[in-house]
């Protein structure tokens, strides 16, 4: 009993604070505008007796209130909660939520009526925003309205939570989908397609064809966005080898990105060196220079572990950033103004320097990098990396030269970043020190962690989430960083292994069921 009350109180306080926070930063106004456009194309006809803006806000708050109720009615492990206890905890959660928000409504409402200008203290508390929050009522009635509103939504949340948790439909649905899936996989046609390699090639071929046709229909803006995400995928896959596979925390990863970018920039641009080399010649140079930088940095620092390594690499990233900003080096790097008119790729006299062209180029690079990563991961080298990540001391005791394998991971990760940098600078036709700040390292690291350490689909998913979503959510521009932070916190709490974590390769089962494989059995225990 006390457990349920405690759960309810916790959820109520948390959601109360969250809702107050959302109001204080002006999110309530933004979301109601957004929902208005989404639900009613921004029409201003009153809905169910409410002014449209207020209706939209209430829709949003309805879900928040329900969520508070669901969260309050936390499941007791190994026990079916009765309706009474569920409604008790969700009711307490809703009531507390309502009292906190209602109290705030009462406070700001009275202050507004007393003529206090609150924007002095909270920039977002404009009179309009407050009127919206008070849903057109006076302070007292708005306050009591919220108490009742959140109590009811909280109870609804409780009902929803219990129905979802214990309703028989849940088992039915699972059983139904399982049956259907088994029937589908047992279907002879499916079996034939599944086990015929030719058909698989056709499926993959179609997928690749679609991917390659996509840039033609996407248009300039989306091609540019997809390209940006692609470059982050390249960076993420490189850092994935260092952090995800070999387990070394590298915070200065942007340095290798910068080295790739400046290599192509300085070699192809008219100023400051007037070298004007062909783009394709500079690609391998950029990759090799980045890998070389990885080795040069790696030799002294790779005997460090964990936090110490993170600090040293962070320093390295900052050194590169400072060098690029430096006035002293203007003659060599272009200094703070950067390098303009970076050369683009062309093939047989046809320029590929269009957004579509770059999308193809980036796609090719991503496929190449994925190919290399998969091959390395499933080899002796990849296993050694993972062993080092799991337990470096034991890896050494198992005869693995940890130093050379860590250096290799660093160099290969750096070379992927170098490739990304080359494409990045060439696509922007410009490169400047501002492009290579600390945030790049953090963003890439975040996409690796959010996606799932060591997992290739994870890195791609992570890059899309962190680089692609903000582009899609342009409306929420002001909250991008907020959402970014919140996403990281929530992710680490509810899914610490990442969005798409790695699944281990099955080797024994495959061996046992492989009809073509040779008989694996010999005399057990024999001397080898």
């Amino acid at each position: 009993m006390t457990r349920h009350i405690r759960n309810g109180i916790n959820a109520g306080i948390i959601f109360g604070i969250v809702t107050i926070f959302l109001f204080m930063i002006g999110f309530t106004t933004t979301i109601s505008d957004l929902l208005g456009q989404l639900l009613r194309n921004g029409s201003s006809i009153a809905v169910m007796g409410f002014t449209p803006g207020i209706f939209d806000l209430l829709v949003f708050l309805f879900f928040i209130g329900m969520w508070a109720g669901i969260s309050g009615a936390k499941k007791t492990p190994d026990k079916i909660d009765t309706w009474g206890t569920v409604l008790l905890s969700s009711g307490i959660a809703g009531l507390l939520h309502g009292i906190l928000v209602g109290g705030l409504a009462l406070l700001v409402g009275s202050l507004l009526q007393a003529g206090v200008t609150m924007t002095v203290y909270f920039a977002q508390l404009l009179p309009d925003a407050i009127h919206l929050f008070l849903i057109g009522l006076n302070a007292t009635s708005a306050g009591s309205f919220y108490v009742i509103f959140f109590l009811i939504t909280g109870l609804i949340g409780g009902v929803v939570a219990r129905t979802i948790r214990y309703g028989s439909w849940r088992q039915n649905l699972t059983a139904w989908s399982k049956n259907k899936w088994q029937a589908f996989t047992a279907w002879p046609q499916y079996q034939r397609i599944r086990h015929n390699k030719l058909n698989l090639f056709v499926v993959y071929g179609l997928l690749i064809l679609i991917v390659f046709l996509l840039p033609q229909v996407l248009g300039q803006y989306w091609n540019y966005t997809v390209g940006t995400v692609g470059i982050y995928v390249l960076l993420g896959l490189g850092l994935n080898i260092v952090v995800g596979l070999a387990g070394m925390l590298d915070l200065g990863y942007v340095a290798f990105f910068a080295i790739g970018a400046y290599t192509v920039a300085l070699l192809t641009a008219p100023a400051p060196h007037h070298l004007m080399w062909n783009f394709w010649v500079t690609v391998p140079i950029g990759i090799l220079l980045a890998a070389f930088a990885g080795i040069v940095l790696g030799i002294p620092v790779l005997r460090l572990r964990g936090d110490y390594l993170a600090i040293v690499t962070l320093g390295f990233g900052q050194i590169i950033a400072v060098l690029l900003h430096s006035d002293e080096l203007t003659a060599f790097t272009g200094g703070p103004r950067g390098v303009a008119a970076v050369g683009g790729p062309s093939l047989f006299g046809i320029s590929l320097g269009t957004p579509e062209g770059f999308v193809y180029l980036i796609l090719l690079a991503v496929i190449l990098v994925i190919f290399v990563t998969i091959r390395l991961r499933n080899s002796r080298v990849g296993r050694a990396w993972e062993a080092i990540r799991e337990d470096e001391t034991v890896a050494r005791a198992m005869g693995i030269n940890t130093w050379s394998h860590k250096l290799l991971a660093f160099a290969i990760g750096a070379s992927f970043a170098g490739l990304g940098g080359v494409i990045f600078a060439s696509r922007n036709q410009f490169t400047g020190p501002e492009d290579y700040n600390l945030m790049v390292s953090f963003n890439v690291l975040a996409s690796v962690i959010v996606g799932g350490m060591g997992s290739i689909p994870g890195v791609i998913g992570g890059a899309f989430t962190l680089k692609g979503l903000p582009e899609v959510l342009r409306e929420l521009e002001n909250y991008r960083v907020l959402a970014f932070g919140a996403l990281l916190v929530v992710m680490m709490l509810i899914r610490p292994e990442g969005l798409l974590p790695t699944s281990r390769r099955k080797m024994e089962i495959k061996e046992l069921h492989d009809p073509d494989g040779k008989e694996a059995g010999e005399t057990p225990g024999g001397k080898s």
Partner: protein
């Protein structure tokens, strides 16, 4: 038959003012089962860490088939044929059973990273052979069918056996076991004893054992050395050790010796 597998001469290791291992002389015959015992903190694990290269001894010499191990890196020593297990099991917890064993084979495989990317026929053949060998070891330690399970999810006894299998994958000529029966019930302990004897008899590996369970030590060792405060206070057959007054004193205190 009387080849010496491992010999230490005046081996000493100190941590600040504490002498963890003090001028220890040992010589372990090839294909024997040799136990190192002693009260907690006697320096047994430090002794292991000196042999496997994780600690650099201040003085003394370690000879493995007449080759000095002092100053070599742990991975080099492992490659020369000394494999070990840990007192508190240290598997690669997030990798599968088979992957753990494949890592043990690391130094026996020759694929470079370039070959891995190109997947040359040689690399494919080597990987297939390695997998076969791993499956064989899996059966040898009785873990068939658990090859694709993540090591972390294995039951305790299976984790102990997997650790041995991983060590065997190095094809060692000497195996250092650090309390292999810790946390096991009498049945499992008996099974582990038989298993250790099988390792020596069938695979002809020299076994160096740290163990607290006296039934195990007395049951399978051919030679026993006793450490106390880093000093070797006795060495001999199980029978000799059981009757040694100094050993009883180290374990039970002076009063016990007087009573005996």
């Amino acid at each position: 038959m009387d080849n010496i597998a491992l010999e230490t001469i005046g081996l000493s290791k100190r941590f600040g003012g504490l002498i963890a291992v003090n001028a220890v002389d040992l010589s372990i015959r090839e294909k024997s089962i040799f136990s190192v015992i002693g009260p907690n903190g006697a320096g047994k694990t430090t002794f292991y860490n000196c042999i496997t290269g994780f600690y650099a001894p201040e003085a003394g010499e370690i000879l493995f088939f007449n080759k000095s191990l002092v100053g070599l890196s742990p991975d080099r020593i492992a490659q020369m044929g000394i494999a070990r297990t840990y007192q508190n099991i240290r598997l690669f917890a997030n990798m599968t059973t088979l992957e753990n064993i494949l890592i043990g084979q690391h130094h026996l495989l020759k694929t470079s990273w370039v070959e891995a990317i190109l997947q040359t026929p040689r690399m494919r053949r080597e990987e297939a052979d390695a997998l076969n060998e791993a499956m064989r070891l899996l059966r040898f330690v009785g873990l068939s069918g658990m090859g694709d399970q993540v090591a972390r999810n294995l039951p305790y006894g299976a984790q102990r056996r997997l650790e041995v299998a991983r060590a065997l994958a190095l094809k060692p000529s000497m195996l250092l076991l650090d309390e292999p029966t810790a946390g096991m019930n009498p049945n499992e302990t008996m099974e582990m004893m038989r298993f250790i004897q099988r390792l020596r008899d069938e695979l002809e590996i020299t076994i160096l054992l740290i163990e607290h369970d006296m039934r195990v030590v007395m049951g399978i060792s051919e030679q026993i050395a006793v450490l106390d405060y880093g000093v070797k206070i006795a060495e001999g057959t199980p029978r000799e050790i059981q009757g040694n007054a100094q050993v009883i004193e180290a374990y039970l205190g002076r009063a016990a010796t007087a009573a005996a």
